[in-house]
C-alpha cells in the first residue's frame, strides 16, 4: 500500500513538473514558441488577448485534468473496489452549464472590442495596394505612382533549385527574403488594400498582428501602424499552387523622412507608369 502511494505521489509530482514545463515554455522564449509581441498597437493587443486566453485555458485545464488524474489514481479498482451509484446531480449540472458562459464572456468582450478597433479604417495617412500573384507580391503606392514587384530573393531561389545543393544555412533569411521589400513609414496609419491577381493568396506578417486574404476580384482593407523601424517578415498563407511556399513577404519600416527618401530614390530609378520588373507568368498564361 505504501509503495502504491509512493508511486502515485511521484506520478503526481512528475505530472505537475511536466505541466509546469509546458506552461513555462511559451512564456520563456518569445520567438520560437509563441506569438511575437509585434510592433503595432494591434499586434500588442492581439498578443495580450492571446495570452489571456492561453492562461485561462491553462487554468481550466489544470482543474479538469486534475480531476481526471485524481479519479484515475484514487478511484481505480485496487483503491476503490465498490463503485458509487450516483448518476445525476442537478446542482452540479446547472453550475457547469452556467459557469462556462461567464468564462467565455471574459474572453468575448475584449475580443469584440479589439476587433472593432482593427476594423476602424478612418484617418489613414497612406494607402498601399497589395496584390498577390502566383507567386509574388505587388505593392502599389497610388499617391507616389510606385509599383514594386516582390518575389523570392535570388539567394533563396538558388538554395531551393532542385539538384543545386546550396545549403539553406548559407542563405541569409532562407525563404524569408525578397527581391524588393514593401517599404512603409513608421508611426503613420497605413491603409492596406489587398487583392488577388489570379487565385486566393493571404498576406500574413506575424509581427504586424495581421493576416488578410487576397481574393481575386475583391478588395479587402486593413490598417497597420508600425511603431518601430525594422524588417518584418512573413509569407503567403493560403495554398496557391507550386510556389505557395516560396512567396515571402518582407516589410521594411523606415522613419517617415527616410521613407520619403526611398520614394524619391525609387521614382528616380523607375520612370513612367506600370514600371517594375514583372517576371513572365510562371504558367506561361
Amino acid at each position: 500500500m505504501t509503495r502504491r502511494r509512493a508511486i502515485a505521489g511521484s506520478l503526481t509530482i512528475l505530472g505537475a513538473l511536466l505541466s509546469a514545463a509546458v506552461l513555462a515554455a511559451p512564456a520563456r522564449a518569445a520567438s520560437e514558441y509563441n506569438l511575437p509581441y509585434g510592433v503595432t498597437p494591434i499586434s500588442h493587443a492581439v498578443y495580450r488577448l492571446h495570452m489571456l486566453a492561453f492562461w485561462m485555458m491553462c487554468g481550466i485545464g489544470l482543474i479538469v485534468f486534475g480531476l481526471i488524474f485524481y479519479s484515475v489514481i484514487f478511484h481505480r479498482r485496487s483503491r476503490h473496489p465498490v463503485p458509487a451509484k450516483f448518476h445525476e446531480n442537478t446542482v452540479f449540472e446547472i453550475v457547469w452549464t452556467i459557469l462556462p458562459f461567464f468564462i467565455l464572456v471574459i474572453l468575448a468582450v475584449p475580443a469584440a472590442r479589439l476587433l472593432l478597433r482593427m476594423e476602424n479604417l478612418r484617418h489613414s495617412q497612406l494607402t498601399v495596394r497589395i496584390t498577390g500573384y502566383q507567386w509574388l507580391w505587388r505593392y502599389t503606392y497610388p499617391r507616389y505612382g510606385i509599383n514594386v514587384y516582390s518575389r523570392l530573393s535570388n539567394s533563396s531561389l538558388a538554395a531551393v533549385q532542385y539538384g543545386r545543393h546550396l545549403s539553406p544555412y548559407a542563405v541569409p533569411h532562407y525563404l524569408r527574403s525578397v527581391s524588393h521589400p514593401m517599404v512603409v513609414p513608421t508611426g503613420e496609419k497605413i491603409r492596406l488594400l489587398v487583392t488577388g491577381g489570379d487565385v486566393i493568396h493571404a498576406w500574413w506578417v506575424p509581427a504586424l498582428g495581421l493576416q488578410i486574404d487576397a481574393n481575386p476580384g475583391l478588395i479587402n482593407a486593413m490598417w497597420i501602424k508600425i511603431l518601430k523601424p525594422g524588417v518584418y517578415r512573413g509569407a503567403c498563407n493560403q495554398i496557391c499552387g507550386w510556389g505557395h511556399g516560396y512567396m515571402p513577404i518582407v516589410v521594411v519600416a523606415k522613419p517617415p523622412q527616410q521613407f520619403l527618401e526611398w520614394v524619391r530614390h525609387w521614382r528616380a530609378m523607375h520612370r513612367g507608369p506600370g514600371q517594375g520588373d514583372f517576371p513572365p507568368h510562371p504558367l506561361g498564361l
Binding site: Y33, L35, H50, Y174
Partner: protein, 526 residues
Amino acid sequence: MSSEVLAHEHAAEHAPPRGFMRWITTTNHKDIGTMYLVLSLIMFFVGGAMAMVIRAQLFRPDMQLVTPLFFNQMATMHGLIMIFGAVMPAFVGLANWMIPMMIGAPDMALPRLNNWSFWILPFAFTLLLITLFLPGGGPQGGWTMYVPFNLQLGYGFPFMIFAIHLMGISSVMGAINIIATILNMRAPGMTLMKMPLFVWAWLITAYLLIAVMPVLAGGVTMQLLDRYFGTHFFSVAGGGSPILWEHVFWFFGHPEVYIMILPAFGIISEIIPTFSRKPIFGYRSMVYALASIAFLSFIVWGHHMFVVGMPVAADLFFMFSTMLIAVPTGIKIFNWVATMWKGSLTFETPMLFAVAFIVLFTIGGFSGVMLALVPADFQYNNSYFVVAHFHYVLVTGAVFAIMAAVYYWLPKWTGHMYNEFWGKTHFWLSAIAANVLYFPMHFLGLAGMPRRIPDYPLQFANLNMVVSIGGFVFGLSQLIFVAVIFSCVRAGKKAEARAWEGARGLEWTLPSPVPYHSFSTPPEIA
C-alpha cells in the same frame, strides 16, 4: 411461387454464399460493418503513408525529397482520404455493426441500400487515387478545394469531383438507413430516452449528414460547371465570387467535423461507464448536449473564414456562436469525468484510449476556443496552430475513439479477447507519439509557420524535426494495431458474452462471437 420455394429461399439466407460473392452480395449488417471497417483501416494506412511523405519532406529545411507539386498533392489527398476514407467509414462500420445489436433489431432497416452504400466507396476512392497518375496530378488545393486555384487542376479535376459525389451519395444513403433503423426497428420498450448514447450520437450525426452532404455535392457541381460549362459561380468577372465557394464549403465543412466527432462522443459514453462500473452521469444532459452541438454546428461556419474579409457583424456573430459550442462540449466532458468519479476504474486498452480521448480532445477544445477569438485568429488562421488544433480533435479525438471502440467490441465481433499486452503497448506508443507529433505544432504555428508549405525557414527547423520523429513513431505504432486485430480474428482467449464485467447494453446479451443473425425475435427491454 409455392410456399416450399419460399421456405427454401428462407433457409438459404441463413448460410451466406462462400468466398468473394458473400461480400459482394451481402445484405447482412455485420458483413457490411466489417467491410466498412476494413476499408477504413486500408485508407488509414494509405492516408498515413501520405502523412509520412509529408513529415519526411519537412524533416529538415530544403529536404527536396518530393517536388512542391507532389507535396501539395500529398497534403490534399491526406486530408481527403483520412476524412472521407478513414474516419467516416469507420464510424459507419461501427454503426452498422452495433446499432442493430444495441437496439435489439435483426438488421438494418434497408439492407440492400446498405450493400450499395458500401460498394460505392471502393469506386469512389479508386477514382480519387488514380488522379495521382493523371497528367497534372491529383488535387493540390487542400481538402478545402478553394477556387479559383482548384479550377487550375489537371485532368484529375473531374475525377475528384465525381469521387466526392460518390462519397456523398454513399454517406447520405448510409445516414438514411441509420435513421430508418433507429426510428423504426427498436425492440419494444426501448424508448428514445432509453437508447444507448452511441445510438443517440449516430441518430443526430445521420441528420447532419443528410443536411450537409448535398450542399457539398452542389458546391462541387458548381465548380464542375464553372470549369467546363462556362458558368461563373466563383468568378468575379462573371458576377460570381470565390467567397461563395468558401461559404458553401464551410456550411458543409463545419457540420462535417461534427459528423466526425459526435459518434466518437457516443463511443466514449459507452466505454467510460463500462470500465468505471458506474452508469453514465447525466444521460439526459448528454443527449441534449449532442443535439445542441449539432444545432450550433450549422451557425458557426464563418469561423473558418475570419481572414476572408467578412463584414464585422458577421465576424462578431460567428465568434460568439462558436464560443457557445464550448458550453455543451464542456457539459459532455464534465459528465464523463463525473462518470469516472468514485467509480471502480480499471484500465484495459479501450479505457486507456477513452481517458486519453477526454484529456487530448479537451486540449483540442482549448485551442478551439482560442481560435474562435477573431483578433487572435488573424494570427492563428491557416498556421500550424490550426493544424495542431484539428489533429488533436480528429486524431487523438476521433481516431482514438475509433480505436477504443475496436478494442472494446472486438471480443464481441470475433469471439476472442485481443492481446492485452500488445493493445496497451499500441496505446502508450500512440498516445506518447501523437503528443510529440502534434503538441509542438502549436508552437510552430504561433511562431509563424504557415500550413501546406513544402519547405520552411530555418527558425522552424528544430521543432519540425521533433514533429517528424513523433510522426514516424505514431505511423509505425499503427502496425501493432493491425497485428493485434489480425491475431484476435484468428485466435485468442475465448470471450464471454459479457466480455467486460461492467458492460451493460443489449449487445452483451448476445453470445460472442455474435451469430450471423441476431435478435430475429426482439429482446425484452426492462
